[in-house]
């Protein structure tokens, strides 16, 4: 962590990181964050690992219904073929 860096700014920008990741920020604020990231490796790591966290959760989510659960569901709903 560099000593000359003003981390008060990091704290202020941290609250915008989610919107930044989602592309929900207006251009001016985006530019401010990107300029900040260029000089602040810590915030860059924050953004990168937050993005990765989202990706991992999204990736590991089970996409299919277990077949026994599915079978019982169709039975309860009277939709068996």
């Amino acid at each position: 962590m560099s000593t000359e860096h003003d981390h008060a700014n990091c704290r202020e920008l941290l609250g915008q990181f989610s919107d930044y990741i989602d592309g929900d920020l207006e251009a001016a604020l985006c530019a401010e964050i990107e300029a900040h990231l260029a000089g602040c490796p810590d915030c860059q790591v924050m953004i990168d690992t937050m993005r990765k966290t989202i990706t991992l959760y999204h990736t590991q989510a089970a996409a299919e219904l277990p077949s026994d659960v599915e079978k019982r569901l169709y039975k309860v709903l009277n939709l068996e073929e």
Binding site: M1, R11, L14, G15, F17, S18, D19, D22, D24, P41, D42, V45, M46, D48, T49, M50, R51, K52, T53, I54, T55, L56, Y57, H58, T59, Q60, A61, A62, A63, E64, L65, V69, E70, R72, L73, Y74, V76, L77, L79, E81
Partner: protein, 207 residues
Amino acid sequence: MAGDAHVSEAELLANLRAGEPAVYRQLVESNSANIYNVALRLLGDEQEAEDVLQETFLSAFKAIDRFEGRSKLSTWLYRIAYNASLMRLRKRKQITAFSLDQPLREDGEGDEQASRHLVDWSMAPDDQLLTAEARQVMDQAIAALPETLRSTFVLRDIQGLSGTETAEVLGITVQAVKNRLHRARLHLRARLSDYFAERAKSLQPAT
């Protein structure tokens, strides 16, 4: 049925009201996995998630005539499932344990104190990171979130609903979704960082 994929919501709804079993099957087929996954994430219990899944479709079938079609059918189903899950959580008294006012800093600073060592583990490939142990850590991290943050994260980031859809399901504003989502992401990022940074250290001893 011809052109299943292109049947509009209005047509689908009309066919459901006409009581066509094939259309009911179609509705269940396209939504059951999503509903089950949300319930499983919210409740952390397979049996309860299955109960919620069945309840959701039973309630939806009964109420289909009263559904006004102002939201998407899928959003409506999510909402029914969310309400059913919430009722179960309340019964378990988890809500009181994790109230809205629990001491989580809005800016997430509290979480960041715990993992001040900012190790960048984001470059590792997903399949290398996602070991059985890591999945367990992820499950625990999400289970430890307050319900309000957990439901938002599950719908928005895991299921991939839009901000507006998530707001509709949860009955909150889009801005509230954003706030909750940010807090949830900060928490989860911090927990995962603690774990993956530690693992990275053991895998790559300093040279």
